[in-house]
């Protein structure tokens, strides 16, 4: 990352250059001098080198690969369990290497901390160097201004001192920074370039800090919410919760959200028939308990911002409502069950109903919800995602759900190992219709359906600082791209014939285009006319004798070649 840092080989060369008087340090920095300090300096030097930063960056990219290839604890703990079941020998080994939790693993942390150190080690010294450079005086004027890329000469009646003063007045009027010497004026402009560069590097550090801030104090969570229900942003009420390192559950903003209604609109004709055109989740929310609820229409890409937390609408589905009466005649289940869409064109959704407290036997049902049920040649399907002809088709089970002991279960899966499928004629149910179970096990009624939405809750306190830092970095970068540092030199000396000869030279650093040429011509012209204007008595008219403005011949070829 530090191209600025002079490579040690170059530094050694420079030190050895005759005439500089700087003795070459024995051994340079390449081989560390004896002692721990030498080794430290050597290590720091290499850590902050651009090559190391690039290697670390590459390592970071490589290290992220297993995070996307293998299931991750933080994202999908169930998938990790499945991986354990599928690869019983390999999984513990991978777990030892933190490969199921790559982004929180010590070796991953080692890479990014080294990278951060490397970046900081580059940017901070560079910042000081740039700050110094922004305060720099213009250099002394070279002896022969005609050798500069841009040069002009004119003669004047003024004394050399007066001519220089006039030139200085012109340049300082154009906000050049001036330095004067014996018979010369040096001027420089475009310090904003260094300021821009400085700004860019500082903003870069701020950006990194902001991103880390977000990672430390932010969190991500998910929640499925059925219409008519409400929830509070607290860990037990969330389906998935991924806090940053410094987040404790008590830090969560205690807002509440209630879903009144969800409406999905679909394209009803043409080639795109069945494609969603609009989702509207009509919610009410309160920033904290006890505060009046406010209404909001939550749409895709139109998140709710509450207490600095953003809540996105990321999914939706149907939750058929079932009422189950068991063999004893008691209602043992009555509520919506979220089903998950298995396909998009007809939004056929799958789900399970578990009734662990039914007597005499526990009951389980697995099946599909069909928003627009159609019978296509004896095969049941859904023709459209909107609920035009809702129906459910279920397979009924009785026995042991496996919920009274053992590991926790997913609410979306039915463990049929302890269950017996009941001989019920397969028949889709319309709202209000029931299945009467055999053997006096009870009745299931499909009473209707509700819709659900799934919400992504994200809190990232680093977003705004990162945005500001990013924009500042961009502004700095643009400044350093578009502002050019340019220098003007003026020398005045007595010429033949009693006139004073005024040499004007110009030099633009990193000037690819000819923008400086125009500026130079204008400035040289102004200096020349200022001299003339101050002359005691001169016949008017004509361009200043001997005035020439143009490129040095050698540079001409270069510019044309580009």
């Amino acid at each position: 990352m530090t191209g600025v840092r002079i490579p040690s080989s170059q530094r050694a060369q420079r030190g050895a250059r005759p005439g500089t008087g700087v003795p070459q340090r024995p051994g340079g920095t390449r081989a560390p001098s004896a002692g721990p300090l030498g080794w430290l300096r050597w290590a720091w030097h290499h850590l902050t080198s651009m090559r190391t930063a690039l290697v670390l960056l590459f390592l970071l990219a490589v290290a992220s690969v297993p995070g996307s290839m293998l299931p991750q604890e933080g994202i999908d703990p169930q998938a990790v369990q499945q991986y354990y079941a599928a690869h019983p020998a390999l999984a513990p080994l991978l777990a030892r290497l933190s490969l199921f939790n790559v982004f929180a693993s010590p070796w991953f942390a080692a890479i990014y901390l080294l990278l951060f150190a490397s970046l900081a080690g580059c940017v901070i010294p560079r910042t000081f160097r740039l700050a110094g450079s922004a305060r720099q005086q213009p250099p002394r004027a070279p002896a022969n201004l005609a050798r500069l890329p841009f040069a002009a000469r004119h003669e004047t009646q003024l004394a050399p001192g007066e001519a220089l003063a006039a030139a200085a007045a012109v340049l300082s009027g154009r906000r050049f920074r001036l330095r004067t010497g014996d018979g010369w004026v040096a001027a420089e402009k475009g310090y904003l370039r260094e300021a821009g560069n400085l700004l860019f590097h500082l903003a870069l550090l701020a950006l990194l800090a902001a991103i880390c801030l977000g990672g430390m104090f932010g969190y991500k969570a998910n929640r499925l919410l059925v219409a008519g229900d409400s929830f509070a942003n607290t860990a037990t009420a969330l389906d998935a919760f991924h806090p940053g390192r410094a987040v404790s559950p008590a830090d969560l903003q205690p807002f509440m959200i209630a879903l009144d209604k969800f409406q999905a609109s679909y394209i009803t004709s043409g080639a795109l028939r069945g494609q969603p055109s609009r989702f509207d989740a009509l919610i009410r929310y309160a920033p904290q308990p006890g505060v009046a609820m406010r209404r909001y229409n939550l749409r895709v890409n139109h998140p709710l911002t509450v207490d600095g937390v953003r809540v996105f609408l990321i999914g939706h589905g149907y939750a058929p409502v079932f009422r189950v009466t068991d063999g004893t005649g008691r209602v043992v289940f009555n509520g919506p069950v979220p089903f998950i869409a298995a396909e998009q064109s007809g939004f056929t959704s799958e789900g399970v109903v578990k009734v662990p407290d039914a007597r005499p036997r526990q009951l389980g049902f697995a099946g599909v919800f069909l928003p627009t049920a159609v019978d296509a040649g004896g095969k049941l399907g859904s023709a459209f995602p909107a609920p035009l002809n809702p129906a459910v088709s279920l397979v009924s089970y009785a026995g042991n759900l496996g919920m009274d002991s053992g590991p926790a279960q997913s609410v979306y899966q039915l463990d049929t190992s302890g269950l017996r499928q009941l001989p019920v004629a397969p028949r889709p149910l319309a709202p209000g219709q029931s299945i009467k179970l055999p053997d006096g096990y009870g009745t299931l009624t499909f009473t209707g359906y509700r819709q659900w939405i799934s919400l992504a809750i994200t809190y990232d306190p680093g977003t705004l600082p990162a945005l500001i830092a990013g924009m500042t970095a961009l502004a700095g970068l643009l400044l350093s791209f578009f502002v050019r540092r340019r220098r003007m030199f003026v020398r005045a000396y007595p010429g033949p014939g009693g006139h004073t000869v005024v040499d004007v030279g110009g030099l633009a650093r990193s000037d690819a285009a000819g923008a400086f040429e125009t500026e130079f011509t204008t400035l040289a012209g102004e200096i020349s006319s200022a001299d003339r204007g101050s002359e005691p008595a001169v016949p008017a008219g004509g361009p200043a004798p001997g005035s020439r403005a143009g490129h040095a011949p050698a540079l001409d070829d270069q510019t044309e070649g580009e």
Binding site: L54, L56, E73, G74, V102, S230, A235, P356, S405
Partner: protein, 194 residues
């Protein structure tokens, strides 16, 4: 040259984004209250003397529809159990809790459930199944869970709290409780004057 460095840095920053965040779901002790606690075996935490957190004042509606406030249990040792009829370890520990509630009632120990993410029909069927005689508060909008958010951890269903006569949380058990384990926590709390 500077632009190259800039691009590299931005790329690095983007990657660092993933690195800084925790990633894993925090499960365990909610830090941050400055509580000094003695951690027992597995998911059990015993809060020491003056560091016992005060139980928040909550009022809710029971599954049967009556209003009930936590303050009503002042003067009793209260065992508070966060559960759901859908939750396997809750079902596994239900007989233990129901039995302890009956046994310890004469000793002045009250039990109260908080039913999380459940429907009234399922919850009442659960209570019948396990012969649960103590009341449970319904928590449809998570108001009670919110009030207890610093003591009941994420993915912390079931969680059992033992609250002293003075309304302070003296112990917390995350996950399925054992008869002996819970009985011991209750005995310790019964020994506390307030």
């Amino acid at each position: 040259m500077c632009a190259h460095r800039g691009a590299a840095a931005v790329a690095a920053a983007t990657l660092t984004l993933a690195a800084c965040s925790g990633g894993a779901t925090a499960q365990g002790t909610p830090a941050g209250n400055g509580q000094s606690f003695v951690s027992g075996d597995r998911g059990t935490t015993v809060f020491g003397g003056s560091n016992r957190p005060l139980a928040p004042a909550v009022t809710g509606t029971t599954l049967e529809g009556t209003r009930l406030s936590l303050s009503r249990f002042r003067g009793h040792v209260l065992v508070m159990n966060f559960w759901g009829s859908w939750c396997t370890p809750c079902r596994a520990e239900a007989p233990t809790l129901a039995s302890l509630a009956r046994t310890l009632r004469p000793a002045g120990v009250a039990f109260l459930g908080v039913d999380i993410r459940d429907t009234a029909a399922s919850a009442q069927a659960f209570q019948r199944s396990f012969n649960v005689t103590y009341p449970s508060l319904n928590d449809p909008g998570d108001a009670i869970a919110l009030a207890f958010r610093s003591t009941v951890p994420p993915a912390g269903i079931p969680t059992t709290l033992v609250i002293s006569r003075g309304g302070r949380i003296s112990a917390r058990a995350i996950g399925q409780v054992s008869y002996r384990g819970l009985r011991e926590l209750i005995s310790k709390t019964l020994a506390q004057p307030s």
